[in-house]
């Protein structure tokens, strides 16, 4: 688990920058740091028992019962085509998509960060593994480069 290294003063500054739409949930996926806009994220949770459902897509892991709601779980790495194997840790970001509530399994949750738009580069020439339709841009943070992804469009092709 990566530690959060920011000091208290900076934290206060961040808190005052209340642009919640500029707040992103940073997570790592297969070694790369990604960021999902907080507005799209409903919640995060740790996976318990996934009920497997036979489906044709291999990134589809199953469904869970989240407080009475059935949520489909997919493996984001597999969805992005980053890997062939399902994620082991079971950290799920529950996002709202046009097709409903989807839980995306990621490698690790890092932090919630406010990223100013000036730090975001919508440059498609950077070679990432994320298909360009998901990519919102590349953010420059003190962590490094963060791929900002539109989590709500991850099931765009379905």
């Amino acid at each position: 688990m990566q530690l959060f290294e920011r000091g208290g003063a900076q934290a206060a500054e961040e808190a005052l920058a209340d642009e919640s739409r500029h707040r992103y949930l940073l997570f790592s996926l297969k070694g790369e740091t990604y960021g999902a806009p907080l507005t799209t994220v409903r919640e995060v949770l740790k996976l318990g028992a996934v009920k497997p459902v036979p489906y044709k897509s291999d990134y589809f892991l199953g469904v869970i019962n989240l407080r009475g709601q059935i949520v489909s779980i997919i493996d984001l790495g597999m969805r992005f085509g980053l890997s062939r194997e399902p994620e082991a840790r079971g950290l799920v970001i529950v996002v709202e998509t046009k097709y409903g509530v989807i839980g995306a399994v990621v490698t690790d949750l890092l932090c919630v960060k406010t990223i100013q738009p000036r730090d975001v580069e919508k440059h498609p020439s950077i070679d990432t593994q994320v298909p360009p339709r998901y990519c919102l841009g590349i953010a420059k943070t003190e962590r490094g480069l963060v791929n900002l992804v539109d989590a709500s469009g991850i099931l765009g092709d379905e």
Partner: protein, 553 residues
């Protein structure tokens, strides 16, 4: 069979007795014949010859008397007194002589007829002599006529005497002839008898010699030859015995020297053995000390192992500490989980705050603070974790290193223990070996003593052997001498029996002797016997012998 036990001696006795009897008979016959002949001879010599001699003398005297008478008659002039006296003396002498002769005749052992004739002759002689004397007297007395008449008487008596003497002589001659005939008869008889007896004897002798002597002589010859051979073999044997006795003596000398060497070696061996025994006892004490040291070492090791075990116990306590740490780690893991959940919660809170928009700002701060707290907790937990990890690592390191050390130490100590054990075993084995060596050396000492005794016994036996060799040699010399004398006896017997010369016998037997004497080159005996005395054995003047003999006694 009685005849079988008729030994040669008896046969010879019989033969010789028979021959002796025969000879005796012959001798007796001869002696009787001889005595008879002697009697005849005596007759002849004692009676006949004197008789003849007397007769001859009588004849002579008679003739002498006649001669004197005639002579005196012739010269009877009567004047020659001296002549007449001489004549008378002569007649007296002659008459004495004739008387003497007649006396002799009478005294002779003649036959009675002869004696009678002698007596008659005596008478005639007396008359004759008287006539002669008378003549002479008459002549002396110068009475020639009476003397001539007396001369006629004288002549008649002379003729009568002549006749008588002739008769006596013929009588005597007859007697002699008779004696001779008798002797011849006796001779004839005796010769016949003797011839018969001699023939008998010869025949008997021939028969006996053919039957007895011949065969026995053959047997004797055979026996003599065999004896000669045997004597030769005895002589050879004597030479061989001498050679053997010399060999024996030499062997005894060699044996004695070998025994001396052996005794010397035994002494050296005894010295070596006693040295070995000393070394063994020293080694024994040393190994005993070594064993004690090994025991002490083992004890030390046991202590060390106990200490090791103490360390291991503390190590295991450390391990329980590790367990504790792990439990703490587990708890921190729980804390981490809680922190994670809290983070999630804060994320969710932030998300909700973001979704709440403006209203959620304070909440988002709270969420963030919560998140930070969670992060801090997480950090603390992580620090704790890391501390715990490092502690665990350290402790694990310590434990493992201690374990390793303990293990190594245990192994080392076990190795030491094993080494000590093996050393102890080795020392034990050494001690056993040393004990065996000590026992063996004791046995060796006993053996050496026994060998020494045996050596002394062997030496005695050797001395006896050499003495026996000496005796044997002396006996061989005697044997040789005896063989020589035997050979001489046999040679003489052979000479006696078969007429072979001693040289031939010696030549026959000497070739057999040559090999025997060639075996003995040191013999300088020119007689070819080859038997020499053996030198006496070496004297024992060595001090070791006295010791050994003292041991023996």
């Amino acid at each position: 069979m009685k005849l079988g036990r008729w030994t040669v001696g008896m046969k010879l006795w019989t033969l010789t007795s028979v021959l002796m009897l025969d000879v005796l008979f012959v001798g007796l016959m001869q002696s009787s014949t001889s005595s008879a002949l002697m009697r005849q001879m005596r007759d002849i010599t004692d009676s006949h010859l004197p008789a003849v001699q007397s007769m001859a003398m009588l004849d002579m005297r008679r003739d002498g008397v006649r001669a004197v008478v005639l002579d005196s008659l012739l010269g009877a002039s009567g004047q020659d007194w001296e002549r007449g006296r001489q004549a008378r003396e002569e007649i007296a002498e002659l008459s004495d002589a004739m008387d003497a002769h007649l006396g002799v005749l009478v005294s002779l052992p003649l036959l009675p007829e002869t004696r009678k004739a002698v007596e008659e002759a005596r008478g005639v002689v007396r008359r004759y002599l008287e006539a002669a004397k008378d003549v002479l007297t008459l002549v002396r007395d110068q009475r020639p006529d009476e003397s001539r008449a007396r001369l006629l008487d004288f002549t008649k008596s002379f003729e009568a005497l002549e006749a008588q003497l002739g008769a006596l002589g013929s009588q005597i001659a007859l007697e002699a002839k008779r004696s001779k005939e008798k002797a011849e008869q006796l001779m004839a008889r005796a010769s016949i008898t003797n011839t018969f007896l001699l023939v008998c004897g010869v025949v008997l002798g021939l028969v006996a010699s053919v039957l007895v002597v011949g065969s026995h002589v053959r047997k004797l010859t055979g026996i003599v030859t065999r004896l000669s051979d045997e004597a030769g073999q005895v002589a050879d044997g004597a030479v061989k015995v001498n050679g053997a006795s010399q060999n024996l003596s030499q062997a005894a000398v060699e044996q004695a020297s070998a025994v001396e060497e052996t005794v010397a070696s035994m002494e050296e061996m005894a010295a070596t053995i006693s040295k070995t025994a000393d070394n063994a006892s020293k080694s024994h004490s040393v190994t005993q000390k070594g064993e004690e040291e090994a025991q002490k070492g083992k004890q030390v090791i046991a202590h060390m192992l106990a200490a090791m075990e103490g360390i291991e116990a503390s190590n295991s306590k450390l391990q329980s500490l590790v367990q504790l740490i792990q439990e703490i780690e587990a708890k921190t893991q729980i804390i981490n989980d809680i922190v994670f959940e809290t983070r999630l919660l804060s994320f969710n809170a932030s998300i909700e705050a973001a979704r709440a928009g403006v209203h959620g700002k304070g909440f988002s701060v709270v969420a963030e603070e919560v998140g930070k707290l969670a992060v801090l907790s997480g950090k603390a937990a992580d620090e704790i974790r890391s501390l715990l990890d490092s502690s665990t690592a350290e402790v694990a390191k310590i434990v493992s290193s201690t374990q390793e050390s303990v293990l190594a130490g245990k192994n080392a100590f076990r190795d030491c223990e094993q080494a000590f054990n093996s050393m102890g075993d080795t020392l034990q084995r050494i001690r056993d070996s040393v004990e065996q060596i000590a026992t063996a050396t004791q046995q060796q000492e006993v053996g050496v003593e026994q060998t020494n005794k045996a050596m002394v016994a062997i030496d005695h036996a050797t001395l006896n052997n050499s003495k026996s060799a000496e005796t044997l040699s002396a006996l061989a010399v005697d044997l040789e001498r005896g063989a020589d004398s035997l050979k001489n006896s046999i040679a003489s017997m052979r000479a006696l029996v078969s007429g072979d010369t001693a040289q031939g016998a010696a030549q026959r037997s000497s070739p057999r002797r040559a090999p025997g004497s060639s075996r003995d080159p040191e013999s300088g005996d020119a007689a070819g016997a080859g038997v020499t005395r053996v030198d006496p054995c070496v004297s024992r003047s060595d001090s070791r012998w006295e010791r050994a003999e003292a041991l023996q006694s």
